[in-house]
Symmetry: C2
Subunit: 472 residues, 2 copies
Amino acid sequence: MSKVTPQSQDFSKWYLDVVKEADMADYSKVKGCMVIKPYGYAIWENIQQELNQRIKEADVKNVYFPLLIPESFLNREKEHVEGFAPECAVVTHGGGKKLTENLVIRPTSETIMYDTFSEWIHSYRDLPLKINQWANVVRWEMRTRPFLRTTEFLWQEGHTAHSDKAGADTEAHRALQMYKDFDREFLALPVLTGVKSDKEKFAGALYTLTTEALARDGKVIQAGTSHNLGTTFAKSFNIKYQDVDGELKEVWQTSWGVSTRLVGTLIVVHGDEKGLRLPPKVAPIQIVIVPIYKTDEERDAVLKAANQIKNDLKRFRVQIDERTGVTPGFKFAEWEIKGVPARIEIGPRDLAKSECVIARRDTGEKVSYEQSELFTAMPKLLDEIQENLYQQALKFQQDNTRSADNYEDFKKILEEKGGFIISGWCGNEKCESKIKDETKATIRVISEEKHSGKCLMCGEKADKKVYFAKAY
Amino acid sequence: MSKVTPQSQDFSKWYLDVVKEADMADYSKVKGCMVIKPYGYAIWENIQQELNQRIKEADVKNVYFPLLIPESFLNREKEHVEGFAPECAVVTHGGGKKLTENLVIRPTSETIMYDTFSEWIHSYRDLPLKINQWANVVRWEMRTRPFLRTTEFLWQEGHTAHSDKAGADTEAHRALQMYKDFDREFLALPVLTGVKSDKEKFAGALYTLTTEALARDGKVIQAGTSHNLGTTFAKSFNIKYQDVDGELKEVWQTSWGVSTRLVGTLIVVHGDEKGLRLPPKVAPIQIVIVPIYKTDEERDAVLKAANQIKNDLKRFRVQIDERTGVTPGFKFAEWEIKGVPARIEIGPRDLAKSECVIARRDTGEKVSYEQSELFTAMPKLLDEIQENLYQQALKFQQDNTRSADNYEDFKKILEEKGGFIISGWCGNEKCESKIKDETKATIRVISEEKHSGKCLMCGEKADKKVYFAKAY
């Protein structure tokens, strides 16, 4: 009997079962915080390593700013503090004494960084300034779920300053494209991209760009965001530079980030009834070899062949499951829950033919291979699995993106099917809020394409084509 | 004129000048916390990458535990809380409300981790358990100095559990040896290793092993520690396993860590009057090429050759300093402050002979090379620089390790020369404390060798050979 509740029966329970049974994370006794276990952390480490390289290729330098932010810094930007103050953890005592000024644990680092930016930036020659940090942040959350929403999470936050709006626009879009490419190429995640409505944008931003992924329960996850901050923070933190013409001007800024939420996104986009399905590129174990034998003699021969195969495939992350006391069937189920992309089964009968069986996690298909062809066949097979997971997720996203011209149809689709719903919107926040209040659906992105039709809510002329969905 | 105060004039000021002029870190407005700038962070990233690999080779798995620890957890182990509570930053409010229980920001993670260990460990089959995390920690410090002592710092902390004392002993010594090898091979740091006195050991440990490096001002830095925690925490956190014989037993534990302090250690051990000197393996820039020219025509030819050299040396981290508006001499001084191991100077006269000049940062020596031999000569040269920095530091350490048989000599050496002073100690904490109170010198390590002579302080028979020094 499977240890995992069927997705169709209770998706939330399925999710928690997968996190537990795949040994990815544990609850901690600190409210809303999780313990990331080795298997979950290895996925995050792979994400970090690959994304870190892409960030560096864009000539962004890594730095580290303090965890603690003076409350007065947060208060300097009105919209920003309104957005984040209710979520802050506050340090009032240090070294046994009450502090003269409270410190908040960073919910994001704009304010602590930009105070320093004002000291680093003087001239047009100091621009663009492009930095990034890998760090933990804390946002007090009421309802949490491992990886998807936790009080403390790990992330990277890029912060840049430019001489003009065009520079910040370009950077905000570069970061968005970097995330989209990374999601597609490394995580096999199709994402919808676009701009957020003012109601949904980052607190303090001019505009927010976003990558949105569709989970298999029809709900949507904000997987990464990139903000053009305009000159809002430059004004609050007095970040000015002397331009070529000698004039003193405010900088234009961006910030952009992705977090451990990406690990949760992998689970809800690729997971199936049996558990996790990991794209090979991000999988901590890409290939598991399960030896099958009855006698000691068989065992020696099979393990010898298994080690030979492991050696042939050493450019990959391969593990032989040598455990005794559990059946091959038990092992199969466990590696399926953990989402290992390819499983090699090898027993005496395979040995006799110099073959082995490969079971693909993405399709469940089992195919026999000559042992000698694995060296050339495996790279192709893993590429195929990577691509197939992407195509499956893309098809699911396309099949679950529907249009609704009127509110009745909209509610019906939302209720019965979920997914993205394309509609017209007049641009009025009242309509947006009313739809959210009545249906819990929010505008995930505003399309670049223009709409010609009516607003879903008020029926007035609407030129905005928007994607609605219920979100995590 | 140099931007760096001479070491001999004011070592502390020299240190701060180097940190500032090499662009490694900035002060932040949060008390005792620093901003790690790109050049400083790149050094830390290189340390992380190399050490992370060595940790994984020892079959230790990376994880992540919460930043915040319930105060009651800290209170469960008496010695531990006495050691750390005075240094804690305390969160009393979260999400706009007063918390029912205060949370401390981790000063170290024993208590939050071991509460979970009691759930992970049930049987002898769960042992040894070996995990590590890369994280930030906060300890409220009165007197801080960038990298060497900061309120927040970055580190790795390894934590293991074993079935018996022998297992924990072996692991504590393995971690110590890993640090010693890493210091020697990657950072070119000679370190003195040994066990701490009870007064100086980690709060809650059975014993503490340490690596101690000697700075060029004669003061000593604790660069890394490894603790055998005995069964102290197993008792407080109820971590028990059922042994093969069916009996319920307490686990034996270790923890071990190094931090961003290693970056400061590199500075004070290898630095010279001109600034930083980085061992090639850890240097963010291993080779800098400074083109020298007067006319545009010369510039084109020289830059072409510089790029050819860069390409020949692409297995290394190479940068061409193409800045205009500053003289080659200005550039030389700047790269010397930043400690780049090898500088290649190339001008029209070198071009004519297909040569270039290499200036070694470790010796200051300048030698001409054929451009065509760089590909084979540079790896050897960088190895030589790496080894020479180690040998220089080792010689300094040996030259500054002296013996004292009586307290008068001891004080004289301490006052006039500093460094390590080998003496006899009876083992009584009163003598140790009195020496510390009167001279500020502490026992850095107790040697494995036995002493035959008298105690420095009380004159009683002393069988402990100890290394005293003033420490950072």
